[in-house]
């Protein structure tokens, strides 16, 4: 077999050394750095894009937070406006109620005073009528004329008893 013929060994070893060394030189000096550069650039690009995406994501979340905050503020403000206007309305209603109630109370007390006055007037008329009636009844029955002072006293006493 030619593989075991030593006469070709020096030549094969020599050219192996030459070609393999040259290949190693070409690979380590030119071919591999170029590939590494392209792969590195690609990796860098990917990393950059991922980083950019992350930045955008944080921006989005801050924007969303700001939006939520604005929304919450607006809601709180609306509630405050609602509450103050409700309080105002309540206050107005209460004061008007108060006013009406006062007026009613005044009218009631005025009416009561009127009632009391006419009641007094009626009562004094009742006394006179009662005294006249009593005088007439006593005159008719007994033929006596009564002393006016005694008569009034008796009528007052009777009305006082009735009134109680």
């Amino acid at each position: 077999m030619p593989q075991f013929d030593p006469s070709s060994f020096p030549s094969q070893l020599f050219w192996l050394l030459v070609s393999f060394s040259y290949l190693f030189f070409l690979m380590s000096r030119y071919a591999l750095p170029r590939i590494a550069e392209v792969l590195g650039e690609r990796q860098k690009r990917i990393d950059d894009d991922i980083e950019k995406a992350a930045q955008l994501k944080t921006q989005i979340s801050t924007a969303a937070q700001a939006y939520e905050k604005a929304l919450a503020d607006a809601r709180a403000q609306a509630q405050a406006v609602f509450r103050t206007s409700q309080e105002e309305i309540n206050g107005q209603a209460q004061s008007r109620n108060q006013e009406v109630a006062n007026r009613l109370a005044q009218q009631i007390s005025a009416g009561e005073a009127r009632i009391a006055a006419s009641k007094d007037a009626a009562l004094s008329q009742v006394r006179e009528i009662a005294a006249g009636a009593a005088e007439a009844v006593v005159g008719k029955l007994t033929g006596l004329s009564l002393d006016e002072a005694n008569l009034k006293k008796a009528v007052n006493l009777a009305i006082g008893e009735l009134g109680q």
């Binding site: 077999m1 030619p2 593989q3 094969q12 070609s19 290949l23 392209v38 650039e41």
Partner: protein
């Protein structure tokens, strides 16, 4: 008919003598030069556009790069990055040499023991130097693994030493034997077709020759697989030896 080993003959194309030693530029040297030229052209022409999104050719160049880079990362680790250009060159040289040998009328320089043996010995010596320079005499600890009972030392150490010293032989012989045997098998099987035609006449030879021809086709496919596989095995074993030297066991 030519002998099946005729294809392995080295013959000078340009006779050169240095100090009385014959270093002629031979057919073997020519195919080594082809391998270097092809490897360089494949990688640099593939990468000439430096595209961010690679095309087909650039993808192939990057694929080979990533393949060897991954092999070193997995088998040697971070410290293996220094030896990446060497391992890569080794893989390219052997792979391209094996595939160039699959062309008819070409010469397979990886089918010569002196070539594969020299490559294997280079790896072996290099790895041994790396081991001693990194770990000093502690590198000898490789022959006696941690945790082994001391009583096993008289058996274990010689076994480990023999297995260590046999590495360059197994590495070189494996590649040489695979390439040689495959090419002889192809030649013998193809020779049957010719022999049948000579013995049985054209018609009989063509009819009966279908059987060895089918075998040639099958073995050719197998040989393409082996061409890659043996280059892969050669490279990954070099990585494993390198790992032993850098990280010990």
């Amino acid at each position: 008919m030519a002998s099946p080993v005729h294809q392995f003959e080295v013959h000078p194309l340009v006779p050169i003598q240095i100090d009385g030693i014959d270093v002629s530029f031979t057919n073997s040297a020519l195919f080594m030069a082809f391998a270097v030229a092809f490897s360089y052209a494949f990688l640099t022409l593939g990468m000439r556009e430096r595209s961010l999104v690679p095309g087909r050719w650039q993808s192939m160049a990057e694929l080979v790069y990533e393949f060897i880079a991954g092999m070193i990362r997995d088998n040697v680790g971070k410290e293996g990055a220094r030896y990446f250009p060497f391992i890569f060159s080794l893989f390219m040289f052997v792979t391209v040499g094996n595939f160039l040998g699959m062309m008819p009328y070409s010469f397979t320089f990886t089918s010569h023991l002196v070539v594969t043996g020299a490559l294997a010995l280079t790896v072996f010596i290099g790895v041994t130097i790396i081991g001693f320079s990194r770990h000093g005499l502690h590198f000898l600890r490789l022959f006696f693994p941690h945790g082994a009972p001391i009583a096993t030392a008289p058996i274990l150490i010689p076994i480990e030493m023999i297995s260590y010293l046999s590495r360059p032989f197994s590495l070189g012989v494996r590649l040489f034997a695979n390439m040689t045997v495959g090419h002889i098998m192809l030649k013998v099987l193809a020779g049957f077709v010719v022999a049948f035609i000579v013995k049985l006449g054209f018609f009989g030879g063509v009819v009966t020759g279908i059987v060895p021809m089918a075998a040639v086709v099958g073995v050719t496919i197998l040989e393409f697989g082996i061409a890659f596989l043996q280059a892969y095995v050669f490279t990954i074993l070099s990585c494993i030896y390198l790992n032993d030297a850098i990280n010990m066991h």
